[in-house]
């Protein structure tokens, strides 16, 4: 492999960005080379410069970014000195790219078939006579069912996995030699991730293409790539064959990344860097914080036969009424869609229950219903002996019960008011529902909470955009525990975080639970993350529970086919 001329050779590459605070070097003197037919993974956490490297190769950096030093040689030609016109011929025809968030990567108001045709026509791969046939043929190659029909579809009419297939079709339309896949499966379900990745590997192998896979997921890199490049803060810290790098990581950062990745057979505390324990949270004071509650098997939350129905798209009641003549009205069974279809489960005091399933399975609907943000269609939700399902969501917000059920949201950035400081965000529930009066007392409570969640007190006066992802997650957690709730619903609290930050946040959640005696309802799509934190797991599919049991039992001896499928779809580094 090494004696042949590499297809892509990056030498001493430095990329700079002009920002308001001066020039920032996103990538510093990196060397990466890729042989023909090779599959290479670039692995790193956010800010490591892995995406910037690929943009530099394609020369599609933002206006503020530029290649400051070094060369990028693609089959013997220096890309960094090419004219824009030559570069355009290279893009899409020789090197193409797949992006994360496939739905946003497609033009929302152009038929997918036409978008594929645009690329074919641009690179003279099709004329106006045969472009439609060729576009349909490409859709067929990426295994899109009924390609003639999908040719006329708009991106919003397709699922996320289907959109990613279209993006792959765009990228492979002109049979390029190199494919750069930038987090191609982030945001997709694990089973979809598997089919998309298998498809990419199959198609690129078939065409003897080289592939660069950019990912934060070590498991994905190990499962699909020949070689792995690990990047940290704009530097390449390690390059090795994927078979060996996980067995014997040489660099400290690689080791740390490996440790932090949830995988079978490790405990929660194993995720933290060696010799490091969680920054110890101070013992809660007796006055403000809750007394430790006994974690006996007393049920806290009982959900019984819960149903949540939504009207189907395009069949809003008012419209149906308006157009009800000639008996054309939609049949009643079609008029509603059951997002949650009669599920029952119990969360005991001091227990953590995981709610797992893929997008659209109804797990978020379940959690928001339990949170009493939306009304139930039928069934009951009993919280500490009281039927809260019967209370309308509108009036629940003002009841004292509201204090006892709190939530940590998925996106730490979007769930914080950008105009509130961290302290104001944490104080918000206290001001709305708490019994602490006086700004000094509220401030003291905020500081206490900040210490509890390991947020430096001096950061309390910062705004969300001045905090890192992990710090924002801590603010979200502090806000949720501010009123000493009995039940906290965690809605994918670490999905947007890097693995090393995720490891710390998961450990923090575990410590807090033990200290404050809370119960968790942990909503996630990742069984391996859920396993670390939860005593019991509920697996949902299409609005129903397919399996429920203790975490160990579900993970080691899954009963339902669907659970097995989910477990098998998650790629893992060979440990």
């Amino acid at each position: 492999m090494s004696e042949t001329i590499p297809l892509l050779d990056i030498r001493d590459l430095t990329v700079e960005f002009a920002t308001r605070r001066g020039t920032v070097r996103a990538v510093q003197h990196i060397d990466i080379s890729l042989a023909k037919g090779e599959t290479l993974a670039i692995v790193g956490e956010s800010g490591s410069g892995k995406s910037v490297t690929s943009y530099a190769v394609m020369r599609i950096l933002d206006r503020a970014g530029r290649i400051a030093e070094g060369t990028v040689t693609f089959s013997g030609i220096d890309v960094s000195t090419m004219s824009e016109r030559e570069m355009r011929n290279l893009r899409g025809r020789e090197i193409s790219m797949i992006f994360q968030n496939p739905r946003a990567a497609l033009n929302p108001i152009r038929k997918v078939g036409h978008q594929i045709e645009d690329v074919l026509m641009q690179h003279a791969q099709a004329g106006s006579q045969d472009k439609t046939d060729k576009a349909i043929a490409i859709l067929e190659q990426v295994r899109i069912a009924r390609p003639q029909e999908r040719y006329h579809a708009y991106p919003f009419e397709l699922s996320g996995g289907m959109c990613q297939r279209v993006v792959i079709a765009l990228a492979l339309a002109c049979r390029p030699q190199l494919l750069i896949a930038d987090e191609p499966t982030t945001g997709l379900d694990v089973t979809t991730q598997k089919t998309v990745m298998d498809l990419i590997v199959e198609l690129t192998r078939e065409r003897a293409m080289s592939t660069i896979l950019i990912t934060h997921d070590l498991g994905l890199a190990a499962a699909y790539c020949d070689r792995v490049v690990v990047m940290e803060k704009g530097n390449v810290v390690e390059t090795a064959a994927s078979g060996s790098i996980f067995k014997a990581p040489a660099h400290a950062y690689t080791k740390r990344l490996m440790r932090a990745t949830p995988r079978p057979g490790v405990a929660l505390s194993d995720l933290l860097p060696e010799g490091e324990t969680l920054p110890s949270a101070p013992k809660p004071k007796t006055n403000g914080a809750a007394e430790p509650r006994p974690s006996n098997r007393e049920p806290l939350l009982v959900v019984d036969n819960l149903v949540k129905e939504y009207p189907r798209k395009g069949a809003t009641p008012s419209l149906a009424k308006l157009f009800k003549r000639n008996g054309h009205a939609a049949a009643p069974e079609l008029a509603t869609f059951r997002a949650v279809d009669g599920i029952s489960f119990t969360v005991h005091r001091g227990e953590s229950v995981g709610l797992v399933g893929e997008s659209g399975c109804g797990k978020s609907t379940t959690s928001t219903t339990v949170m009493r943000l939306i009304d139930v269609s039928s069934g009951s939700i009993t919280f500490d002996g009281e039927d809260i399902g019967a209370i309308p969501a509108k009036s629940f917000a003002r009841l004292p019960l509201r204090k006892r059920i709190q939530m940590v949201f998925q996106d730490p950035t979007d769930s914080l008011n950008p105009r509130f400081t961290a302290a104001r965000a944490i104080a918000d529930p206290i001001l709305q529902l708490g019994d602490i009066k006086g700004s000094a007392a509220v401030r003291a409570r905020c500081e206490e909470l900040a210490r509890q969640v390991g947020l430096p007190v001096e950061l309390l006066d910062r705004f969300p955009h001045q905090l890192s992802g992990g710090q924002k997650a801590r603010v979200g957690i502090a806000r949720a525990i501010a009123l000493n709730p009995d039940l906290v619903i965690l809605d994918e609290p670490t999905a947007a975080l890097d693995v090393s930050v995720q490891a710390v946040v998961l450990n923090l959640l575990q410590v807090l639970k033990e200290q404050l005696g809370m119960s968790y309802l942990f909503v996630s799509h990742d069984l391996h993350v859920v396993r670390l934190l939860c005593d019991r797991v509920i697996v949902m599919k299409a609005g129903s529970i397919v399996e429920e049991g203790s975490t160990e039992q579900v993970m080691s001896a899954p009963q339902a086919d669907y659970t097995r499928e989910l477990l098998a779809a998650v790629p893992h580094p060979p440990v």
């Binding site: 394609m58 599609i60 206006r63 570069m87 355009r88 011929n89 290279l90 893009r91 899409g92 025809r93 193409s96 790219m97 992006f99 968030n101 946003a104 990567a105 497609l106 033009n107 929302p108 108001i109 152009r110 645009d118 690329v119 641009q122 690179h123 708009y154 919003f156 009419e157 993006v167 765009l170 990228a171 798209k313 395009g314 419209l319 308006l322 157009f323």
Partner: protein, 337 residues
């Protein structure tokens, strides 16, 4: 698509009913006594009372309202007290004048503002970007009557390029046979190019005045929306696929960026239609705006009611048009309908 149009039309009915009621009540609440005004300063109390009876103003409000609605259903908007002319005929004659002026102003404005906004967005902080900012700020901060007067001063008085600002046509011409009421279109239909030129000459200055005023919102919206779209993921995909700059900017970015601009256009048009009173005054334009203001000053119910109702109908029609345009641009809107 037809469903969307039908739904919009159905939704417009309650608002039109509301407009009928509110305009009726508002005109009744206006200060001043139409009977006294109509009778003249020297009239006796008895004479005023007689006129009041003749106008039906001695009846109770509900009775007056029923009468008003009944007339309206027959297409009768009443007659202006000051001129004695039927309001419906007057509006029919004047509305095309205002509409032609406003439309032409808007067309000028779009023709300048949209390319300006696109150029500014594709070259941020360049000369053209700064020019865009200066032009739009200046345009919006100068009052319409002022720009109008400046234009008249420069192009009529100083340079003599423009004809006298005295209405829709020079005195030497007579209007074309009415088909649409738009002189430009009617003169083309009649095949009279001299007339076309004459009416265009009259139109250019007032239309330019409106254009300058409406440049700012359109240019700024185009620029902002283009900037947002150019930074989006799908434009990056298009660039990464090697598509030509023209395809990226026009087919991918511009069509997406048009959505908010179309909304702004609708708002600007309806705003201009009602607010071009000043332009009509400056250029002695026989439009609907000046008609309504004169009626309002004279406490003349019928024209004011007719004006507000016409504007409401226009507004509904315009919104419908924009929704249809939206549906044509954005397939997602079609599905929701």
């Amino acid at each position: 698509m037809l469903r969307l149009i039908a739904k919009r039309l159905l939704l417009a009915i309650p608002s039109l009913i509301g407009v009928v009621i509110v305009t009726f009540l508002l005109t009744r609440a206006l200060p001043g006594d139409p009977a006294a005004y109509f009778a003249g300063p020297a009239a006796t109390k008895v004479a005023i009372e007689q006129i009041r009876q003749k106008l039906g103003l001695d009846q109770s409000l509900p009775v007056q309202f029923v009468q008003y609605v009944r007339d309206l259903a027959r297409g009768d908007m009443g007659s202006a007290l000051t001129t004695g002319q039927p309001v419906a005929a007057e509006i029919r004659a004047r509305l095309p004048a205002s509409a032609e002026l406003t439309l032409l102003g808007l067309i000028f404005s779009v023709a300048i503002a949209v390319p300006l906004g696109v150029l500014a967005a594709t070259r941020p902080n360049s000369l053209i970007d700064h020019a865009c900012r200066v032009v739009s700020t200046a345009g919006v901060s100068l009052p319409v009557f002022f720009t109008g007067l400046i234009l008249v001063y420069v192009f009529y008085y100083q340079l003599g390029w423009a004809p006298a600002p005295l209405g829709r046509l020079d005195v030497f011409f007579s209007p074309p046979p009415q088909v649409t009421g738009f002189y430009l279109i009617d003169s083309v239909i009649a095949g009279d190019w001299g007339l076309f030129r004459a009416s265009l000459n009259q139109l250019i200055l007032p239309a330019l005045t409106l254009c300058i005023f409406s440049l700012a919102p359109i240019a700024r919206m185009t620029r902002a929306s283009m900037l947002a779209v150019l930074a989006s993921d799908f434009v990056r995909t298009a660039r990464a696929s090697g598509l030509s700059p023209f395809t990226v900017i026009y087919t991918y970015a511009f069509r997406n960026a048009m959505l908010p601009v179309v909304t702004t256009l609708g708002m600007v048009f309806s705003f201009l239609l009602g607010a071009n009173v000043l332009v009509e005054k400056v250029f002695a334009w026989p439009g609907i705006g000046s008609y309504a203001v004169e009626a309002l000053i004279a406490s003349d119910f019928a024209p004011v009611q007719g004006f507000v109702l016409t504007m409401a109908v226009m507004y509904v029609a315009l919104n419908l048009l924009i929704d249809i345009l939206y549906g044509l641009i954005d397939p997602r809107v079609r599905i929701e309908a």
